[in-house]
Amino acid sequence: MIDTSKPNSVTDHAKESSAWLSLATESASEHPWLDLFNHMAAIVFRLDHANCICAVNSNWALYTARDPASVIGQAFTQFIPATEHERLNFSADTPYLHQSISLMGANSLITRFALHALRETDGLFGILTPLSSPAATMAPTQNQCLHWVQNLSEIIFHLGADYTLRYINPAWQTLTGYSPEASLGTAFMTIVHPEDRRQLETLFSAANFPLRQEIRLQSANSAWLWMSMRINAVQLDTEYYLVGTLQDITEHKQLEIALRKNEERYAILAASTTDGIWDWNLLTQEVYFSPRWKSMLGYAEHELDNTFYSWRDRVHPDDLALALQEVQKCIQGETEIYENIHRLKHRAGHWVWIFDRGTVQKDAHDNPIRMVGSHSDLTLLKQAEEAAQKREQELQAIFSVLPDGIVLISAQGTINNSNPAFSHLTGLHREALLDLSEADLHQALYQRCNPEQQNRHKKKDGNLQFFLDLTHLSATPAEQQPPADLSNPNPPLNYRVLACSESALAIPGFAKLLCFRDITSEYTINQLKSRFLSTAAHELRTPMASVFGFSELLLSRQFDQATTTEILQTIHNQSASLVNMINQLLDLARIEAKAGMEFNFVLQPIKPIVATVVRGFIVSGDQRTVKFSKSRIDAWANLDEEKIQQVLTNVLSNAFKYSPNGGDINLKLARRQNSAGKAEVGVIIADQGIGMTETQLQHVFERFWRAESFKNIPGTGLGMSLVKEIMDIHQGSIEISSQYGKGTVVSLWFTEESAPL
């Protein structure tokens, strides 16, 4: 409306001054026809000798929109466009002018006239006849205005005094969707938002025009449109009009509302109790830290400065470099969002894990000016993560050191993992096993099994047993060797027995766990026990056969006295052998079962024990006695007297038994330092009997073992086993050297202890 108001005012002004204007400098007497001129459609004017206007009729105003009074004394040429000055010949020698000319009015209003002028003595008298009528001159301007108005994207409207719509341009329909027919004559206020309507009515009644207001209008499809309204009151004749424009600012307004919402959100965020907010002015290095930001680190709001260094100086030294690097990347625009996890020092001294995020804001020249972000406290999360990591490490460690072989089978039925023990037990390495199926694994194990044992894989309980043939396995570390034979250190076993059991796993992604336990020891011991039992039974059956058989013969037949006596003697000897065997078996069993617990160790000198045994040692039918060399050795040791007596008795008995052709039985004490530098005391018993071969010597501690060459000498094959067992529990050692046909030397060594003071 502002743009169009001026031409209107000019028009108003022209209409107001429609009467002829009397010119002060010209008297009616000088120009009696001036009144007439005033009623002509033409501009009548007079110039003085300097070509300045000295009189003009009121039509001047009509065509130029200038007050005729204001132009008196002004040079005429200044109202003529410069381009026409040359054509205009105002020289004194031109008595008559007849040409076309343009006259410039206010607001660049140019009108073409035909000029008729007469040179007078002291000036020039002229008539400007418009080449078109004044109305025709104005018409293009009005049309232009109308054209502009018609094509404006803004709404232009006139309201009557009762606020009814008197005029609307086409933009009205474009923007509001209402047709002119439906709108003209209706009250404008009906489509104004109720909240805005009251305000608008107040402003209108205050008549403080022109005014500008943002209002909401309801469109034809019921949507609310934000409009920027400018309105002015214009008086035409006696009536007042409200003339205004409406500009659609809905989009802008929505953006503004969204922005405000963001700000509200920001405010809510800043006040939230979970995250801390920071807002860093990159130009001043000033940082706003929200109260939560500070309280996360144990500070009250006033206790931390709002500077960048309040943050930087609290970052863990190990985390700082990376955090700064990430911040820098974001400021430089390499990353859109800054993200970093770092530790900040709490006021109490501990570290708080922070998840830090932020973005950079830039000015119109793309320079970073501000960085805004948030702090999330990850301490609990981080602690849980650390605990989980620690737990996983622990489990991994357990998995690695478990003596049992473990294989994990995934939900897809393939091998997911195996522990070092499994590789160690089977020689199958983890890398080679991964992604194999369980059946593949069994196949690989069968290939390593002793073929003779193939049929023994499946056990009664459904679990598998594998008898691995160790001759195919490269590494068989010493610590994995099965325990020694009950009576004799056997050569290393060439097999390993693994029991496989499986457990279902309640872990996603895993189906089950296979556990391979090395049961070689149990298996071997079981085998030994069963062999021992059958051997014991067998050995008992032989003397029993004699007792049983001879007594039956005695009962069923008559024998002469000599035979009868011989038979009875045999029965007696065999019975004695049985009793002896049973006693020794019981001794062995007891020692083994209690693993030495029943031993009664006493620190005592060894010589008196030896002397006691030697003194009472007589073998019936043998004239010999033990030759105990006099010794100065007064060595002490931790000994169970009764057991040592048993050891000495067994060894001495053997010395007598296996030297049937006589020879001295010598016993002496000795001292030595063993390989570890420890002092030892020994009891050395030597005979000159039948001796043993190298091979026989290897079996001497085997239970029930008896050399072929001893067959006619009664014995149980248990005596030396018992000796070995007792010596072991004393942590002593037994050494035997023997020469076949020459004799045997048995040395019993004990750790020597210093005598009590």
Partner: protein, 134 residues
């Protein structure tokens, strides 16, 4: 190789006693001390096979666990595999009494399997039955 000669006659049945235990051999000799038997004894497998080849005994009482390279099962198999000697009746007399031992005895073709301790009188009757003596 000790043969006990009571009555020198061809009608007597030759019986070989094989056992490394002297007492057991004595018990068997005492049990079989009858005129109808001619007794041989051996204390190891090699000695036993030598007597079998020389004498072709009617009955062999054979221990299983013996010192030496061969055990009683192996001796029995050699005797039974040899057409010259396979008519000999072999009675295994042993302290081995597990089912697998008895099975092994069957496999090598033993005619009887007697476990220790045993009844000498019953063994005598068994021998007489093998020899079809009343």
């Amino acid at each position: 190789m000790n043969a006990t000669h009571s009555t020198p006659t061809q009608q007597r049945h030759k019986i070989l006693i094989v056992d490394d235990n002297r007492t057991v051999r004595y018990l068997l000799k005492l049990t079989l001390a009858e005129d109808i038997f001619q007794l041989f004894e051996a204390e190891c497998a090699e000695e036993a096979l030598q007597i079998v080849n020389q004498e072709l005994p009617d009955v062999i009482i054979l221990d299983v666990s013996m010192p030496g390279a061969l055990n009683g099962f192996e001796v029995c198999k050699i005797i039974k595999d040899n057409p010259v000697s396979n008519a000999c009746k072999v009675i295994l007399l042993t302290a081995l009494c597990q089912a697998e031992d008895i099975k092994a005895g069957e496999l090598v073709g033993a005619d009887a399997y007697v476990t220790k301790p045993f009844s000498p009188i019953a063994l005598l009757q068994q021998i007489k039955a093998h020899l079809k003596l009343s």
